[in-house]
Amino acid sequence: MRETFIATTTAILEEDPRTALVLADISADSFAAAQRRHPDRVLNVGIREQLMAGVGGGLALTGMRPFLHSYAPFLIDRTYEQIKLDFAHQDVGAVLVSIGASYDAAAEGYTHQSPGDVALLDTLDGWTVHVPGHRDEVAPILRAAARHDDRVYVRLSTQENSHAHLDGGTLRVLRHGGPLVVAVGPMLDPVLEATRDLDVTVAYTHTPRPLDTAGLRAALNGDEIVVVEPYAEGTSAHLVSAALSGLPHRSLHLGVGRAEVRRYGSRHDHARAHGLDPAGLHRSIEAFLN
């Protein structure tokens, strides 16, 4: 997905003189050619993420469309107040594109992980959040985001599904059956594998914000719903609850646990530790439904 982001953003910068890219050293080498071609619009501020966000806000105030990019913990966690005040409070937008996600950087440790990014953005107004589940979903998302001035977060991950679903901007039902299981972004393949022998409906979206609440109500089959997200568990619980208010329902929210897993290893190890591998998901979902 990172390579697709680099290629697509390089092309967008070439085609649209309104766009700019602000970097804080991460991926700077990959954008070196774009920076040579567009020195006024490809800006590497060095290891200064607060400034990266402020510069993005300033660019947007002059009518440009800034893309900002770094590891999720530096792009979102570290700059939270800049995101709060330098964009929405100024009534401007930007496209924030992260890599690293929850635990792609497993061996780097907790400093390089951001399970809470989407929850942080949920405290603010008007952020669209895209969590592509496949590299082919990335380019259309970025191209659409370049064409307006709203606030957009694109969360890229190493983990991806075997097939792209380009229509994942709303909730798409991929398997019809009993209780609804919603898979966000790269959680689709593990969910499909985990529920192979379970009578469930499986729906997919790569755009959890705004959550497709009408689609959620339409896909609900019975009174049980399971949501599987690749970031902090329960992040979408408040929206699911609001979407289903007035309907008797039971819900299970699976995602990355709050407790720090103080181990290294690979993303597969961390998925297992958080119960987000197919075996862990199967255990949780089966126990909830029975």
Binding site: R41, G58, G63, M64, P66, Q82
Partner: protein, 210 residues
Amino acid sequence: MKLLSRVTADVKHSPSAHSTLDVLWVLYDRVLRITPETVDDPGRDRFFLSKGHGPAAYYAVLAAKGFFPEEWLDDMGGWDSPLGHHPDRVLVPGVEVGTGSLGHGLGIAVGAALGLRAQGYLDTRTFVLLGDAELDEGSNHEAIAYAAAIRLPITAIVIDNQSSTHGWPGGIPARFPNWGVSVVNGRDRDEIERSLRVVENRPRLVVAAL
């Protein structure tokens, strides 16, 4: 500035409010290419009040220059007033940035200057005003270093009324390496004007000492 005395609600921050008055007047009366008619002109000069607290003088100057009615000054902080104890660009004509939390304006000013340059507004100038205590915020130093590294011709004005708790040993200019520097009397309007008119091929710091 009898308009300033109309801004009655700003008791808490009144020293900081008055500290900016002469600089703000010189900017809007003599330096900035911006009028109520050109507040949306993409090529207008930009002024960012980073030190958003104590905006009484800012509001008084904007009202005096016709950006909004003087009557607005009578109810600052009121429920029906667009004028808060920290300015909001969405609510107040002429205000370029909503500030209050310290340490945001300089980074935004750097971004705006870059955006103006990328769009070919090469004669448009970008100014930002900070307080000496505001420099305590580390985010400023990210912007100070980057602006110097890329020789970005913005002008930062620091109102120095020695309000920083631990001070700035060595003086404020020492915190702005590779910036052009003027230290002026913050009450001498002619001296302020001369320093603000200097344009260099690098960022400029004007310390308005009080």
